[in-house]
């Protein structure tokens, strides 16, 4: 066998491997093009048009960026809802992350009844759905216990300016439910914790480090990448949640007479844009820290 011969064989092997690889992901590629890419493009086209849906066909009247300017400048509700969404998300993310990290640190220890506590802390993964959350919030079952309705707090809240009051009220009345969104994040943190080599702790202990020092010097830096993943997961989950106020508003407008599909599509893209900005803010904020940790 000559060298050249072998070289060609090598190439063909590589190509064959690549082809087999593509074969495995082919169905996903087709699905992505049909369901995600085409739909996204089509929704964007709707957002530039007035869309009228009749029983038999869909009629489009090109209106340029009218739907967008209406959403951003004319609609009295949309921008306010968007700001509310952004503020609530930026408040919720650190709470979820810190809570998930604390619980994961606890569950990573060895103690009796650990199984029971694990079952409790992962329970919300199973039951968190839009309608259930809605019912619980309406009944006031989600508030930080005994705080939201105490007279002192109510009085304190009425004193505050509006811009501060709404986020704090949101925090107090839905505190437990914010925590309920941390189930999967606890799992991901546990995975991160279990990856830390035991010998690192032992070495630190021999050097006389306390658990407190170990947390800041070993555990937290090791969890930096995991934290980024968890932050993204949290933002996406909160933004996709069916009881999200912006999502609900867009949904209502889709079927309403004044709104319509074109307008709803434009709002969907604005919403998507805000969500990407939020992801970028949190990512850039955390990246500094990840860089330092590595």
């Amino acid at each position: 066998m000559t060298v050249r011969h072998r070289f060609r064989r090598e190439i063909s092997l590589r190509t064959r491997e690549a082809l087999h690889g593509y074969a495995f992901i082919l169905i996903w590629l087709v699905g992505f093009s049909l369901f995600t890419f085409l739909s996204l493009v089509e929704t964007f086209r709707y957002s530039l048009n007035d869309v009228t849906v009749t029983a038999t066909n869909i009629q489009l009247d090109f209106v340029e960026w009218d739907n967008y300017s209406r959403a951003l400048f004319t609609d009295p509700n949309f921008v306010e809802l968007l700001i509310g969404y952004a503020v609530e998300t930026l408040i919720s993310v650190p709470i979820v992350l810190i809570f998930a990290m604390i619980i994961a640190l606890f569950l990573n220890l060895d103690f009796r009844l650990k199984g029971l506590f694990r079952v409790i802390f992962f329970l919300p993964i199973v039951i968190t759905s839009g309608p259930v959350i809605k019912e619980l919030t309406e009944q006031g079952a989600a508030s930080a216990p005994g705080i939201a309705d105490s007279p002192a707090v109510v009085e304190f809240l009425t004193e505050l300016p509006h811009a501060l009051r709404t986020p704090i009220e949101y925090l107090l009345t839905t505190f437990i439910l914010i925590l309920w969104f941390s189930g999967v994040q606890i799992l991901i943190y546990l995975a991160g914790l279990q990856k830390i080599d035991r010998s690192v702790y032992e070495a630190a202990a021999i050097d006389g480090a306390s658990s407190w020092e170990m947390f800041w010097k070993i555990v937290l830096p090791a969890l930096s990448t995991t934290t980024v993943i968890n932050a993204v997961y949290t933002i996406v989950t909160l933004s996709h949640f069916s009881e999200n106020k912006v999502a609900r508003y867009i949904y209502q407008q889709t079927y309403s007479v004044q709104g319509g599909i074109g307008y709803a599509s434009a709002m969907a893209f604005v919403y998507f844009g805000v969500m990407v900005v939020l992801l970028a803010i949190v990512y850039l904020f955390l990246r500094q820290w990840v860089k330092r940790s590595n």
Partner: protein, 313 residues
């Protein structure tokens, strides 16, 4: 034990209270359990509230003395919300709508994850980027054209509207499952697959005969999570199934309306009006199947990380 007894009593008491390098002391343990119990209680308090409220009779609801312990065992709320939810039908619909797409979703995600983990090809980074994109895009940005297409095809209201995307790897939160399988297959040794290849097995055969069985835990975990997420999903199901099937969460979201259809407010007596106890019993019936599933399969949730070999990267 003998070793420890050689130390003076004071030292042993100090260890007992404050712990030493080998174990936590009593004080640390007390603090740990106190924290865990407090946080745990706060955490599941909405559930307890839901269950207790659902057991309250109209008298108990009006009685301000009754907070956490109802005076009698009262199932009246449940018999009514069972009817309002049209329980057997909606339960079956929910099971169908969550189990069938999950089966396809899990299988296709495993195919894609395997392809990404085991083969070298160009554009892999792009695929990961697109996966991330499908994960991030809000459903509002893709759902309307899909809905209109389904309408033209006459698929609106049929479970196929949820099954077809799942079959093409575009189901609910599909990207997460692809990544789970990608991680899972990466963490599995390749030796068996290599030897099967030397024996002349085809790629597909290797996948089914060698890779699938060894990644069984990842399949189970993915399937369970997929079922739970599909079950709880209401945005897509409402749009795709409206006018066709009604799932439990869908029926719960129009509970008030359904209740007043069955028990018109002007006709029934005051104790049969809709109250928060009935609503909570409806909510509890809604999550009951999931709770049962969770307690039977809890090991798979709680230890899912260890089972699938997710390393958090």
């Amino acid at each position: 034990m003998r070793m420890i007894l050689r130390y003076p009593l004071v030292e042993r008491v100090r260890w007992f209270l404050f712990g030493n390098r080998a174990q936590r002391g009593l004080i640390a343990n007390v603090i740990l359990y106190a924290l865990l119990i407090t946080i745990g209680f706060v955490y599941i308090q909405p559930l307890l509230f839901m269950f207790i409220t659902s057991m309250k009779s109209p008298d108990d609801l009006l009685n301000p003395m009754v907070q956490w312990v109802p005076t009698e065992v009262y199932f009246g709320n449940y018999t009514r919300s069972y009817r309002v939810l049209d329980y057997p039908n909606t339960l079956l619909a929910s099971i169908l709508i969550s189990v069938v797409p999950s089966l396809f979703q899990t299988f296709v995600a495993s195919l894609v994850g395997y392809g990404l983990a085991r083969y070298r090809f160009r554009g892999k980074r792009l695929i990961f980027l697109l996966l991330l994109v499908t994960y991030i895009i809000p459903p509002q940005n893709t759902v309307i054209p899909q809905m209109l297409t389904y309408r033209d095809l006459g698929l609106l209201g049929s479970p196929l509207a949820l099954i077809i995307p799942a079959l093409m790897g575009q189901g609910y939160k599909s990207a997460i499952f692809v990544l789970i399988f990608y991680q899972g297959f990466l963490s599995l040794p390749q030796v068996l697959e290599e030897s099967a290849r030397l024996d002349g097995a085809s790629d597909l055969r290797i996948f089914f005969a060698v890779a699938v069985p060894s990644a069984l835990p990842a399949y189970i975990v993915s399937f369970i999570f997929s079922v739970v997420w599909y079950w709880n999903e209401t945005f897509l199901t409402v749009i795709f199934l409206e006018g066709g099937m009604t799932t439990l969460p869908m029926q719960l979201s129009k509970f008030t309306q359904a209740y007043e259809n069955l028990y018109p407010p002007g006709v029934v007596n005051i104790f049969d009006r809709l109250n928060e106890a009935v609503k909570m019993s409806g909510t509890f019936l809604n999550i009951l199947p999931l709770l049962i599933m969770y307690f039977i399969l809890q090991r798979w949730f709680v230890e899912s990380v260890e089972m699938t070999g997710i390393t958090g990267e």
